[in-house]
Amino acid sequence: MSITITNLRKYYGKSAAVDDFTLEIPSATVFGLLGPNGAGKTTTFKCMLGLARPTSGRILYDGKPLMPATFEQIAYVPERSVLYDWMTVEEHVEMNRRAFAKFSPARAFELLETFNVERQKRARALSKGMRTAVMVAMAFARNAEILVLDEPTGGLDPVNQRHVLSLMINEAAKGNSIIFSSHQIGQVERAAENIAVMDRGRLVLEGLVDDLKADRKIVEGIFPDVTFTLDGIANDPRVARSDRTERIVRLLVTGGAADIASRLSSAGAMAVRVLDLNLEDIFLYAVSPANATTDVVVRESSS
């Protein structure tokens, strides 16, 4: 099931949590939604799931608006714990069994055991990580076509974080979609096929992870002295940003790194390197103001 978000706007009072956000999420994909805190990711999820009413804009599932029946195919793990404090874990499983046709209690208990959650415990007796684990287990036992996960590893120790990641990969292998937001860029890099980056309610970047990594590079040139000019090169549409410190210039390019590198050479650079950017770098560049410099871990490009 594909999801099409068109010109989504959500205002709380005068401030826009989401501002003119358009995104197409294809079916059978793992889609990562990144953004700084307060960027509007959770609000976007809420609008997608009918938990908040958009101020304007449309969200369609396979071309149709959200209906109660659509929820048979959507499982949601919210950011905060929404378990019923006074109910036991087992009672939560039963509740899900009655509410959803394709829910598998056996699978739920299997997953709960993987996370080391005791079935008899009441939700109020569980730690934050355990509660996240319960919500994750319930969602993955649903066999739903789409899983919407808002920070699914919140409060989890690294072992359990790996479990969640493996679960996500398994779901993807089954052909289900996962849309998730996470601050764990490493997880996003592994699991996500597509990503979108939000900042202050707007979409600032989207694309396939592999393509973004292949195209976005830093081209670094070291010049013999400080008297060099770059005019033509800096104006190239593929150069998103240029930082110049004494004899070193670093250009952030969105494609054509090799070409830009050779132009730097022609402009007189004595050493030119093309540096790779990982997803964290790409993300940081996307959300930071245009003229700020950010620290980039220097990695030689081998592609």
Binding site: K46, G50, I74, V82, Y84, M87, M95, A99, A101
Partner: protein, 340 residues
């Protein structure tokens, strides 16, 4: 029926059962302590111990068995008319003793037993009627007390969901309206179950002491109809109030009773001046919104019975039903629009 709400109801019914059990024990103790009015055979045995007591058994025309006990030493007379299933009529004439009350005349009615004491001179006559049947009115009154308490505890189910569980409640393959109806349905079943449990408990108490017939006639049928709808209407009112007010639903529920009583009291203000008139009128209007206003635990009639009758009963009952529906709809309306 909604599973989560059903669990809440079940837990509450369990607690109610325990409390009812305690009340039943207390009721049994109470019944035993007034049993000196209750067992003619025991009396006969007791009194015939005195020397000189004469016991006579006759059968009156019509089948009534009459036992007469004369004790010349006190002197005291006991006449027991046993009408069989229709109950017993006992007249005791004895010298006034410390066991009797101070007043000239004294009445006690407990369930199916009516006791009337009157003093004349140095003698006291006690007339005991056990007609063997209990008006459902009494049972419904007890049941309603419990049902209203249960209704207040269960009320605010939607407010509870709004308080942190919307992400679960609203992401179901189930329309919002249907979800709300299932939740309210579970609570309604719980409230009715509490009424039934209460009636069953006290019926049990009665059975321990005598054969119990239930009188469903006349005002009793009306009492049942009103007794069923009143707690539901009260529940619906609290649902509407808590779902709309963005305040702690616990506080709303807790203050519901005192506020109701206060408004009721304010309607009794005599309209002495403009301010008093204003307060009285406002309170009067507000009290029209309260389901409890339409149940008159009314003034007794001349012959001592309570009056639920009148052409207005049908109207009042309809108002209760209407309140249940309207307040429920108001709660569901807010639920439809709520955002997580």
């Amino acid at each position: 029926m909604n599973y989560v709400e059903w669990l809440r109801v079940r837990n509450l019914l369990r607690t109610t059962a325990i409390i009812l059990a305690i009340l039943v024990v207390l009721a049994v103790i109470l019944r035993i302590s007034v049993s000196r009015y209750m067992s003619p055979d025991a009396w006969v045995a007791h009194m015939s111990l005195d020397p000189g007591t004469k016991v006579t058994h006759t059968v009156l025309p019509g089948g009534t068995k009459r036992t007469t006990i004369l004790d010349p030493s006190e002197p005291s007379t006991v006449v027991i008319d046993d009408h069989g299933y229709s109950g017993k009529h006992i007249v005791i004439t004895e010298p006034t003793s410390r066991a009797h009350k101070e007043q000239q005349a004294h009445n006690i009615g407990i369930g199916s037993i009516q006791v009337h004491e009157s003093r004349h001179g140095s003698l006291t006559t006690t007339v005991i009627d056990t007609n063997g049947s209990v008006p459902m009115l009494y049972y419904m009154a007890l049941a309603d007390v419990v049902a209203l308490i249960v209704a207040t505890i269960l009320a605010a189910p939607l407010a509870r969901e709004i308080d942190g569980h919307l992400e679960i409640a609203l992401t179901r393959p189930c329309s919002r309206v249907r979800y709300a109806l299932e939740v309210i349905g579970a609570d309604a079943v719980g409230i009715l179950a509490a009424s039934v449990m209460t009636i069953a408990a006290f019926y049990l108490v009665q059975l321990l002491f005598e054969s119990a017939r239930l009188d469903f006639s006349g005002i009793n049928a009306r009492a049942i109809a009103m007794g069923v709808t009143l707690p539901l209407a009260w529940y619906a009112l609290l649902c509407a109030a808590t779902t709309w007010l963005n305040r702690s639903y616990g506080a709303v529920l807790g203050f519901a009773w005192p506020v109701t009583i206060l408004i009721g009291a304010l309607t009794l203000i005599p309209p002495g001046n403009v301010v008093a008139l204003f307060v009285h009128d406002v309170a009067w209007v507000l009290s029209r919104l309260n389901p409890l206003t339409y149940v008159s635990f009314a003034s007794p009639n001349d012959n001592g019975t309570l009056d639920y009758t009148g052409a207005h009963f049908a109207l009042r009952l309809s108002i209760e039903v209407l309140m249940f529906v309207v307040y429920g709809a108001i709660a569901i309306l807010k639920w439809q629009r709520v955002e997580a």
